[in-house]
């Protein structure tokens, strides 16, 4: 809590940004993001688009796994479902503002199906059930040629806003960040409703939650469905962004990537998802830059990039779990507190 802020009504206490300073910062941040295509370079924009897509998917996993405590290893597969739904609809001429929500809903339906064992089994069995879901869905991606294009993949027509084609990163940027802003606000607000609190209650002790009147069946299925909805939308955006997609993209590694993102960022908070998505997107980039810089001494290093990325992801997951289980969001709030209370010690 910032010093010098005194709430006098419940409404002001419950606002998302509860002090004038944080509102001003938020406004400045949104303005900076909106104008980014004007001042940002090509590289920055491309990275920003990828961060935005990862952000949406991370927000989703952070609801399923972070808030509701239901571990999901089929997140990448749900993204794939969203992506292929968009590919199929876009070819039929459906505009993106219809196709993306539909992609989310299809993914959410599948999410509820894959998550249905969660009603009877707990964490460990559930992880294996979602793993099974991942493999079954991936098998469908590879084999259902007429929709997914099989292993060679399929192409997705450009998004089109009233005859105005969204080509290139600059125009996709607004589509991606508009969606991310909407879904981010939705996630933030979900946490303040009784549905969001029910998720946290289910995570902390599901039997107690049931005794307190939470409908476990509904809460668990909803947690899976909402998480999968976010993944489906992210997958759809991914399809529009790349324009071409193969089943290989939605591998188990991608699910592990998102798991790493929510752990590194901070489980169960929107801020954590944002930090995690940004951080995890730049880790492979930094590795790539290091590899480029050292390629004159080690010519074979380019081939080691992918495996080294896996090693770094693993190390990050374990390090954060052991030393900073609440992730970058916790570090951030500590730093903030020091500044707020300065010159007093915390």
């Amino acid at each position: 809590m910032r010093t010098g802020v005194f709430h006098q009504t419940f409404i002001s206490d419950e606002r998302l940004w509860d002090s004038p300073t944080s509102r001003r910062w938020m406004l400045a941040f949104v303005l900076a993001m909106c104008s980014m295509p004007l001042w940002g370079g090509d590289y920055l924009l491309a990275m920003a688009c990828i961060v935005g897509i990862h952000l949406i998917a991370t927000l989703g996993l952070n609801i399923t796994t972070g808030s509701a405590g239901l571990i999901s290893l089929s997140h990448a597969a749900f993204m794939g479902v969203g992506c292929y739904t968009v590919a199929w609809l876009a070819k039929k001429g459906v505009p993106f503002y219809v196709a993306l929500p539909v992609a989310g809903l299809v993914a959410a339906t599948l999410g509820a199906i894959v998550g249905s064992p969660s009603l009877r089994v707990k964490g460990l069995y559930l992880a294996i059930a979602t793993l099974a879901g991942h493999f079954v869905l991936n098998f469908i991606f590879r084999e259902w040629d007429s929709v997914t294009g099989g292993i060679p993949g399929t192409s997705i027509p450009r998004a089109n806003l009233f005859g105005y084609e969204l080509v290139g990163d600059r125009r996709n940027f607004y589509m991606i960040y508009g969606t991310a802003l909407l879904l981010g606000l939705a996630a933030r607000n979900l946490a303040r409703t009784h549905h969001g609190r029910a998720f946290v209650a289910v995570r902390d002790r599901d039997f107690s939650a049931e005794i307190l009147g939470v409908n476990l069946l509904r809460a668990k299925l909803a947690a899976f469905a909402v998480g999968a909805f976010y993944a489906g939308v992210a997958g759809g955006l991914l399809g529009y962004f790349y324009g071409n997609i193969t089943p290989e993209y939605f591998s188990l590694n991608l699910s592990v990537f998102y798991l790493a993102a929510i752990i590194v960022g901070g489980l169960g908070s929107v801020l954590g998802a944002i930090f995690g998505a940004i951080f995890m997107t730049f880790v492979p980039e930094i590795l790539r830059l290091v590899a480029q810089a050292s390629s004159q001494w080690l010519p074979q290093i380019a081939g080691l990039l992918l495996p080294m990325g896996q090693v770094v992801f693993g190390v990050l997951i374990i390090t954060f779990l052991i030393f900073e289980p609440h992730g970058l969001a916790a570090i951030w709030s500590r730093v903030r507190r020091v500044f707020h209370l300065w010159p007093f010690k915390t």
Partner: protein, 290 residues
């Protein structure tokens, strides 16, 4: 009819090796309460170390085999000490995610060291095919099954009769009570990890010698997770029986539905079993108290 018998026999034989992986997994789950997603990667690393010893350093295969067993045992102890001990007392999901991280590290490391292509690993056993009642059985498969069966029998005897086995069972069934009775839990857990790592290594070497060695080897173990769910996470006997069943199911699916379905059919079975019998066929039903 002969076709069906052939699929069943081959499935049973390959299920024997799957049972070794399942054993490695169940040992750790029973002994330490950790669901080890890195089982496949440890197994793969064991196979690669054997390959490095036998081919790169041109050692005697058996020497390379025991060398890799020793190396994996040391690694398992390190994993237990560095990664999982600091996480003990936290939720099961934290440990689960840590092992996923571990799997990622080992997988990436092995691929960086040895590359992604399939290598031919030297066999430990002679490969003479056999014919039993008109069914041709490849030699490697039969030898693998024999080793797996021997090892599993040895393990069951160890747990049943030896003093150390009793210690491990005691600390697995109730760690707190066991430690009040003077059992060193840390030592028991260390030993559990060593044993699980060694069993995994044997499985890895056996599979690699018959199916080739590549980072894809680790995903074999993911298929075994299916078997373990079928048998119940905490039942050694259930895991063995279910591995055999999964071996047969895989062979039947590959035979009748085509090779591609081989990798998904076990998972479909898992999803179905989880919906009907959530704790597997032989697992203990967890009773939760508030």
């Amino acid at each position: 009819m002969i076709e069906l018998a052939e699929y069943i026999v081959l499935g049973l034989l390959s299920g024997g090796v799957l049972a070794l992986i399942a054993l490695s997994f169940v040992l750790i789950y029973k002994g330490t309460g950790v669901v080890n997603f890195a089982v496949g990667e440890v197994m793969m690393l064991g196979a690669y170390l054997y390959y490095a010893g036998a081919v790169s350093f041109k050692l005697d295969p058996w020497l390379a085999f025991f060398g890799s067993l020793a190396a994996i045992s040391i690694l398992s102890v390190l994993i237990e000490r560095v990664v999982l001990r600091p996480l003990s007392g936290q939720t099961a999901v934290a440990a689960l995610m840590a092992t996923i991280g571990l799997a990622s590290i080992i997988h990436g490391g092995a691929e960086a060291m040895w590359g992604g292509e399939t290598l031919t690993s030297p066999g430990l056993l002679p490969r003479t095919p056999m014919t039993i009642a008109d069914i041709l059985i490849p030699g490697a498969v039969l030898g693998n099954f024999a080793i797996a069966a021997l090892l599993i029998a040895a393990f069951l005897a160890f747990f049943r009769y030896s003093r150390m086995g009793v210690v491990l069972r005691a600390s697995a069934s109730d760690a707190v009570t066991a430690s009040t009775l003077g059992i060193n839990i840390h030592r028991a857990q260390r030993l559990t990890w060593m044993l699980a790592g060694s069993v995994g290594t044997v499985a890895g070497v056996l599979i690699a010698s018959s199916a080739g060695l590549s980072p894809m080897l680790a995903s074999t173990a993911l298929g075994v997770l299916a078997a373990i769910v079928l048998g119940g996470l905490d039942s050694i006997l259930g895991a063995i029986l279910a591995s055999l069943a999964v071996g047969v199911i895989e062979a039947l699916a590959a035979g009748y539905l085509g090779g591609k379905t081989r990798e998904v059919v076990p998972y479909i079975v898992v999803l179905a079993v989880l919906l009907v019998r959530p704790y597997g066929l032989f697992g203990t039903r967890a009773i939760e108290r508030l």
